[in-house]
């Protein structure tokens, strides 16, 4: 029975609903302009948006502004802004929709691909074209350029960091147990068994952040089926539910079941895992070359920096990939807004390309994807080792979630703890992931 009171409520609710829909429809008109011309107008300042958690980049740019790039800085002053890493996608989407994007900004991986929100709205500059125009394209290391292009589909990020990933290992423990660098996965597992029996943790693992574990799945896949294995999945040529892909998940699950990740690894965080490795409790740790900053820090590195080695993820028996295809990544995407790309910004870009490599190495021991144009002395041993490996790279592979959409990436990482603790079978893990990839194409 509709009483007067409920009728009044009904009217109020429907009025509200209509207002709501109208409001939403009105406000949606902003944003999506289709300009993707590479040269725009110079802005008033060289605004750079970086992550809170990466103060190194901000510091380096400020150093350039007062040093090697002071002329460019005078013409267009540097203004730095930061955002929390977890908040990048939200912030950048918001800023972009208000036409308030900084000139040079950090962005989420999926955003800068051609089908991503920034990519399809023409808000990412094509560096290759511009750097070639400025004549400094060869300041980008070829390995870095190829990594960036494979991940993002186009050269839309500057490689302020260039990281390779591998298995850091404790040379002393290896010598003590008479082990040598394994070249196949089976050898690695055998070594891990011996290490565990001797009372050490084979792999210090940051299970809390999930990606250190999914990296292993990805590496196994690349070794087993070649560098294009994940691209094939993205293109629909293969499915994650194919036997060989499922085998990769099973192999990693087996590692966990055998106890090679150590006790309680699912809730172990990065700092704890790093500590376990650097104090000699764990013999190995899969991580990227960014670990250098911890290794070179004497208060953290108890086992001594000359005791630390880096070896690549080994080959899989009968696999199409090879051991010298290093997994690599070029850090978070640092894109530029083509609308703000004028001659002054171009000069900044040129200056950065020329000088960043040497500066980052000298000041912070950071290995970047820029060429080192000035000789740098006093480089720490481990850093020198990594630098050499980086310059010897001929072919790189990506990581498991590199080409996935944001939702599938999230699923891959959130489900991996269920996989490793046996709460989910490898087949289910892969089929759920494949379903998500298909749904979000």
């Amino acid at each position: 029975m509709i009483t007067r009171r409920s009728r009044r409520t009904l009217v109020a609710v429907s009025l509200a609903a209509v207002t709501a829909v109208t409001l939403a429809a009105c406000s949606s008109g902003s944003g999506a302009s289709s300009g993707n011309a590479a040269s725009g107008k110079d802005p008033k300042a060289f605004t750079v948006l970086t992550a809170n958690e990466n103060p190194t980049l901000t510091a380096e740019l400020k150093e350039l502004a007062s040093g090697a790039c002071s002329a460019e800085n005078k013409a267009l002053p540097l203004k730095s802004q930061t955002v929390a890493q977890a908040d990048v996608v939200q912030k950048v989407t918001l800023l972009a929709s208000q036409n308030a994007l900084p000139v040079h900004f950090i962005a989420g991986t999926a955003m800068v691909t051609p089908s991503g929100d920034l990519g399809k709205n023409g808000l990412v500059l094509n560096y290759e074209k511009e750097l070639k125009k400025l004549g400094v394209w060869d300041d980008i290391l070829p390995g870095a350029a190829s990594t960036v292009t494979s991940v993002y589909g186009q050269m839309v990020s500057l490689p302020y960091q260039y990281n390779i990933e591998g298995i850091w290992f404790n040379k002393k423990i290896f010598d003590k147990l008479g082990l040598s660098e394994p070249t196949t996965f089976d050898e690695l597992m055998a070594d891990a068994g011996k290490i565990k029996d001797a009372g050490y943790t084979p792999f210090a693992t940051d299970g809390k952040d999930a990606w250190p574990v999914t990296r292993l799945i990805g590496d196994y896949i690349f070794r087993s089926m070649g560098p294009d294995a994940m691209k094939d999945v993205q293109d629909g040529k293969a499915k994650l539910t194919d036997a060989k892909y499922v085998k990769a998940a099973a192999a990693i699950q087996q590692m966990a079941q055998d106890g090679y990740f150590g006790q309680g690894f699912v809730s172990t965080d990065a700092a704890t895992a790093t500590n376990a490795f650097l104090t000699g409790k764990a013999a190995m740790m899969y991580d990227g070359s960014w670990l250098l900053s911890n290794i070179n820090d004497k208060s953290q590195d108890i086992i001594g920096s000359d005791n630390v080695g880096l070896m690549p993820f080994p080959a899989v028996a009968g696999g199409k990939g090879s051991i010298d295809q290093w997994p690599a990544n070029a850090g978070a995407a640092m894109a530029m807004n083509p609308k703000d790309y004028g001659p002054k910004v171009g000069q900044w870009l040129k200056c950065i390309a020329n000088n960043y490599g040497a500066l980052a190495l000298k000041k912070d021991g950071v290995v970047s994807g820029f060429k080192i144009n000035k000789t740098v002395t006093n480089v720490d041993g481990p850093t020198k080792m990594v630098q050499k490996k980086v310059s010897d790279i001929k072919q790189t592979v990506l990581w498991f979630e590199a080409l996935m959409d944001a939702k599938s990436t999230s699923l891959a990482q959130s489900n991996v703890s269920l996989l490793t603790t046996g709460q989910m079978t490898p087949k289910t893990y892969m089929s759920q992931l494949q379903a998500s990839i298909d749904a979000n194409k």
Partner: protein
Amino acid sequence: MTTMKTMAEPILTSTPSGRARSRRALRIVRRIPVWIIVAVLLIVVLYPQFWMIMGSFKTQTEFLSNPTWSLPQHWDLSNYIDALTRGNVAVNYRNSILVTIPAVCLIVLFGVAAGYALEVMIWRGRNSVLLLILAGIMVPGQMILVPLFTFYFKIGITDSLWPMIITYTVDGLPLATFLMAAYFRSVPREVFEASTMDGAGALRSFFTIGLPLMRNAILTIALVEFFSVWNDLLVALTFTTDPSLATIQVGLLSLNDQYGSTQYGPLFAAVSINIVALLIVFVFLNKKIMSGLAAGSLKG
């Protein structure tokens, strides 16, 4: 409030001479469970904070390698110095204070007035308005971040602390209003009506009777809102475009590195400074509540 008698009377023993002694002994024995409960409570509540303060004096390696309850090897202040310089803690503190105090003042001011208007004043439609405000408590704050940001951007205030102050005020008003209405409801009407006998208007009644009566409630709400605003992360994160605008909570986040590794030492140092500052605020406000109680200003 006058003291209340204990819940149960002590049992008298049979012999008259031992009566007084055993009565006292039994009273002490009866208090033992209370002491145990209180002790357990205090340990449960205070030990973790003690642990954090201890952690702030340890280095990263020490913290992760040595057992949880071990004392730091050196009592050096490097973590604190790190937090203050790299963590930019001083600026963060200033911002947190500049944002929280105005927001809390506005919330309390408008909330008490609104609570009075909705509960004590009589007018048609006041129940609907109360329900409307109640609805505000139910909406998840995350959803209105985007439209609010758009609004602030359009009126050009995004480069200041104002977006945060305004947003926190809007967030805290519904609760403050609702709670004040509840506290007002528990006061008998006659108290307010009596004050208007001599011709004073409702507004005067609000200032002379309503506010003093609600002193306790106001201070409680102020306390609650203070901590809710001070510890909020999401709103601060959204409306902070510049490191110079970051509040404490946003600043704490920057003590992680980009690969997710937490710097425990500086983090705990920052939190410990936080604890000390908040302790001061809390003790100060609590004293006010205590003096209000003692003055008996509650009972009219």
